[in-house]
Structure formats: structure tokens, C-alpha cells
Amino acid sequence: MLERLRRPWPDHRAELTLGAVSLLVGAIVIAMIVFVAIRAWPTLAHNGLSWLGPGANLETQIANMQATSVNPPASAFKLNAWPLVYGTLLTTVLAVALAVPVSVLSSVFIVELAPEGVRRIAIPVIRLLASVPSVIYGLIGILVLVPFVGNHVITAHEKASVQNVVELTGAGLAVTVVILTVMITPIMIALVCEALASVPVSWREGAVALGLNPLRAVRAVALRAIRPAIVAATVLATARALGEAIMIQMVSGGRSFAPKPVDGVIFLFEPLRTLASAIVDFHEGVSAPALRSTLYAFGLLLLFSALMLSVCGYLIKLPLRRYQTNG
């Protein structure tokens, strides 16, 4: 048997084998979409589009689902997931909005401005930041940042002003967004840095020869040339922020509360819950059919958003390709 494997394969058989392995990945993706969609279907069928909308208290709706047995009545499926959708959008948009300028500026710093010694330290350090597991970010968040914000940043007056509505412990929007930004920035930096380093030197030389200072030359030529890379990095970072579950579950306060911007500063400290963190929160109730279907619907929405993101990223990149370097 071993001898037979060691003999050289005919080429066509090798091609078929490798092709089959590759198709397996495609099959897995299709299976993933199908399985998640099938399990999500009951809740979507019962609720229709009002599933996405605002409505009754989400906590009680989920408690109803957990209480039902093997054959849930149609009423048990009722859910208005808006607080979760809103929480997901809010954290993702804020974190990405913070991460884009930070990562572009740091990339310019790393590739263009930093002296050799600093760069040699900065690159591995930022790469480390990208590979720290999310549970460690969550641990630092829940044991260090949340108590700090709760005890020193939120005033007693602010806590008292909303005590009938929601309890402010420090866990909430601000801490979540800050940690999420730290988590997604290194991902963007890696891609942007790589693109920035591959812009031909002669392009910048041209800009400098026309009298621009080095920083302006970077902005006028290099940053413009790497716009597709910036879009790609943003898409990747957004996908990561959308799907982050564990860290957000740990530091977001775990309440299906939609932070309201009209509350002023308190808005930043209000607890929330995202689609992904809700799956983690309720995963132990997955044996109750109504709740299971609901959790899979959350998953389906995340999957669909991730798919749409990569499609949008692709479409945005198309017209930007003009300036693409030969890399």
C-alpha cells in the first residue's frame, strides 16, 4: 500500500484529487449557509420582517422561548431583534470609524516616518497586538477597564440619574468600542503597511521633486495609490468587529438595551448586547427549539452581513484599481 503511494501519480489523477480537495472547501461553505438557514427558518417564517424591527422587551421574549418545550407554540417565536442589531451596528461602526484613521496614521508612521530602530520594534509589537486572543482582551476589559470606568469615570450623579432605567457599572459602549478598536486596528495596519511599502519609490520621488514635503507626498501619491488596500483592510476589520463575540459578551454589560445618543455622556456608558454576544449569552438554551432557531437567525444575519461586506468591498475596489501599483 505504502509502496503504491510512493510511486509517482499519473498527472490527471493528481489534478482530480487536488481539485476534489479544493471543492470540499466550496462544499463546506455551501453547507454552512444551508444548515444555518434551515435552522433559522422557523423564527424568520413566524416573524417576517418585523423580526428586525423594534418592539417588545427582548429579554422577556427570550425568557418565553426558554420556557417552552419541544413543540413551541407559534407565539413563542415572536422576537424583535432591533436592540441587538442596533448594538451590533453601533459598536462596529464606531470601532471601525476610530480604527481607520488610527491605522492609516500608524501605517504612515511605521513605513515612512519611524527611524529604523523604532520600526524594528513597532512591527512585531503591533503584530503581537493582532494575535492576542479575544478572551484576554475580554479579561483585561472586565477586570481592569470596567471597574476603572465604573468607579472613576462615571459620576455618582450620572448613575443616580438613570438608576430607574439601567444600572451603570462601567460595562458598556465606551469600553466595548475602545477594546474593539484595539483589536481590529492591527489587522488593518498589517494590510495597509504592506501596500504602502509596495508603492514604487519613484512615485514619491516625483511628488517630492514637485516640491511637496514628504508627508504631503505620502498623502498625495502613496495613500491614493493604496486605496484598494485600505478598502480591503476596512472590510476585513469590519467583519472581525461584527463577529467578535467573546470579548463583547464580557465587557458590554450583557443587557438587551439600546444605548440612546440623546442621553448625552451617559450614552457612552450604557450597556448593550450584540448579535454575536447574544449567541454566547444564550447558547446554553440551545436545546429549546424556539430559542435555537432564534440563535441561528442571529448567526444567519451575521453570515449574510459578512458576505455582503466582501461583495461591497469588491465593488468599491473596482473603480479604485486605476492607481494600483504593479504589486
Binding site: 472547501v25 444555518v36 515612512e112 517630492v208 449567541i279 454566547v280 459578512a306
Partner: protein, 338 residues
């Protein structure tokens, strides 16, 4: 990938570009406009700030780790207990992490290398190759929590009943080491694939042509020429995949059954371990933090420190391999995340 070497400024090169060559003609930031100087300062501040954040995380976890980590913790089994003193160590989570890593990489490696080989060396028909490429992109963009849900849906089918234990009512539990490992192989797949593909694409065409000229078939070329020359890229990919796997919490939380110790299922050695339920360092940290049920922050800090040491070590390996084999500098950082 036909970047001419002369076009890319090597990252390691000293002197940061033409604009600043020649010290006498360097344009001093002091002569710039206020807005430019402001941007310069902000760029420095963000760059240094990120490094400081990373340093703060490592130093803080290091201090906590040294404070709470005792050698005994690494070698004793966890106990169910309400007090931090009585809850034992984390030998089982440590072994769980190792076992999952082995299973995940074993499954992901042939899949990723096979895909990379097929796409770079064969890739016919073209549309199929694009489908496979975008499938891998989709896997890379899918949140791990969704992959976990997918795993639960698939492996609760009665078809896969042998892979986990069956409850009394006939329901398949759908949680075990082999199931969690199979799903973790999906998150290790994209970095492994990307690293291998980049390596294959960087192999010059004339090496393939030389092999063909010697009468080697395509598959023989792949085995004797291409695979040996991308060995370091595969090693980088494996390292990145391992650091993905040991850092993942969501999949393990949903698919490993969350038992404190490794509970074997059945009596066949080896197979009973694959069917076992257990926990890993990440879920141990999670369940011992205030977010989980047992609030034992000291144990959580100690386990998180061990986890961070692993991640640091893997990072070091990636950097070493990158330094030893590639001169492209940043490509390691790029491959490190995608």
C-alpha cells in the same frame, strides 16, 4: 505578484526614502505648515501609542501571571469548588488546548495545501478556481461564533452520532474534541492557505520549467520541487493557524461541552479521547472570569498568562521563520492576520 525587487523599498533598508536622503537637503518639519506638523505629531503619537498599549497588556498580564501562577497549577486537575483555593489547577484545559491544536492542524493542513496547490498549479476551469478562492475568503470572513453554530447543526445529525455521545432520548449531543477540532480547522484554514499560496506564487517559473525540461510530470514537480521550496511558508502558515486555534473561545465554548475535566466517552482508547468533552485554556479563562459562572479571577489571570506566553512564543517563531527565509519583511505581518 510580479513586483520587481527594485521597485519595493525593502523594509529593512535604513534611510527612509528619497525625500530624506542626504542630510543637508532634508526638509525639516519645522519649516512645514502647521497642519502638516500636526499630522506628523498625530502619526507619531498613534504609532507609539499602539506599541505602548501592546506593551501595557504584556506587562500587566506578566505581573498578574507571576503573581498568581504556581507550578502546581499546571500539573493538577481542576476541581469543582466555590473557593479559588480549592478549585485546583488547569492541567486538563492545557491538554485540551494541545489536543485541539493537533486535531485542527491535522485536518486543516492537507485541505489548505491541497487548495493552494490546485489553485496555483492547475486552477482549471477558471471559474471553479475563483469559486474556491472566494469560498476561502468567505470562511475567513465568517465569525467564529457562526462556524460554531454550523458545527452544532451538522454534528447533531444522527449521521454523525459516533462522533459524540448520544443522550437518552436519542438526541445526538454534537459536542466533542473531534467536532470542535474539525470546526477549528476551518479557522486555521485561511492563514494556512494564504501562506502556502504566497509561497507557491513566489517560486520562480523557471524552476518549474527546469523540472519539466528534465522530464518530470507536474505532480512530480510539485512533490520534488515546489513543496520543498515552500516548506518555510507552510511552517509560517501552521504557526499562524496554531495561534488562531489556541486563541479561539467561541467555537470551543459551544462545541467542546464545557466540562471541567476531559471526560472520555466509550472504552476504545484513542477514540474515546476524540469523543471526549473538556475545556481549553481560553474557555477556562472565560468561565473563571466574572463573565462565566465561577468567579476566580486569580485562576483566570494565571491561565491567561500561560495562553499569552504561548501566543508570544508562536509570534516569535513566525518572526524567526520570516527573518530566516524571506526578505520581504512586512509580508509576514500581512500573512499574519489574513
Amino acid at each position: 505578484m510580479s513586483v520587481l525587487a527594485s521597485d519595493v523599498r525593502p523594509l529593512g533598508a535604513s534611510g527612509t526614502g528619497p525625500a530624506q536622503d542626504g542630510h543637508g537637503r532634508r526638509s525639516s518639519p519645522w519649516s512645514w505648515r502647521w497642519s502638516d506638523r500636526f499630522v506628523l505629531v498625530v502619526a507619531w503619537a498613534t504609532g507609539i501609542g499602539l506599541c505602548l498599549i501592546a506593551a501595557a497588556i504584556v506587562v500587566y498580564m506578566g505581573v498578574r501571571g507571576v503573581e498568581y501562577l504556581r507550578p502546581g497549577l499546571l500539573f493538577s486537575h481542576p476541581q469543582a469548588s466555590t473557593s479559588q483555593a480549592g478549585s485546583g489547577g488547569f492541567l486538563d484545559p492545557l491538554l485540551g488546548t494541545l489536543l485541539l491544536t493537533v486535531i485542527g492542524i491535522t485536518l486543516a493542513l492537507p485541505l489548505a495545501v491541497g487548495c493552494a496547490l490546485w489553485i496555483t498549479e492547475y486552477g482549471r476551469p477558471g471559474w471553479l478556481a475563483r469559486v474556491v478562492e472566494s469560498s476561502i475568503e468567505i470562511v475567513a470572513g465568517t465569525p467564529d461564533i457562526v462556524i460554531a453554530l454550523f458545527g452544532l447543526a451538522v454534528f447533531q445529525l444522527s449521521l454523525f452520532a459516533p462522533l459524540s455521545f448520544t443522550a437518552q432520548g436519542g438526541g445526538v449531543y454534537g459536542r466533542s474534541f473531534i467536532i470542535a477540532g474539525a470546526m477549528l480547522s476551518l479557522i486555521a484554514l485561511p492563514p494556512l492557505y494564504a501562506a502556502t499560496r504566497d509561497g507557491l506564487q513566489a517560486v520562480p517559473t523557471h524552476m518549474r520549467e527546469a523540472a519539466f525540461a528534465l522530464g518530470k510530470t507536474k505532480i512530480a514537480t510539485i512533490r520534488r520541487v515546489l513543496l520543498p521550496s515552500v516548506r518555510s511558508n507552510v511552517a509560517t502558515g501552521v504557526t499562524l493557524g496554531v495561534s488562531r486555534i489556541i486563541g479561539d473561545t467561541a467555537i470551543v465554548l459551544l462545541l467542546l461541552g464545557e466540562t471541567l475535566r476531559i471526560d472520555t466517552e466509550g472504552s476504545i482508547p484513542g477514540l474515546n479521547l476524540l469523543r471526549a468533552t473538556g475545556s481549553t485554556l481560553t474557555t477556562y479563562v472565560y468561565s473563571n472570569s466574572p463573565a462565566g459562572e465561577g468567579a476566580a479571577p486569580q485562576k483566570a489571570y494565571a491561565a491567561a498568562f500561560v495562553l499569552l506566553v504561548f501566543v508570544l512564543g508562536l509570534n516569535l517563531i513566525v518572526t524567526r521563520i520570516g527573518r530566516a527565509h524571506a526578505s520581504t519583511g512586512l509580508s509576514g505581518a500581512g500573512g499574519g492576520i489574513v
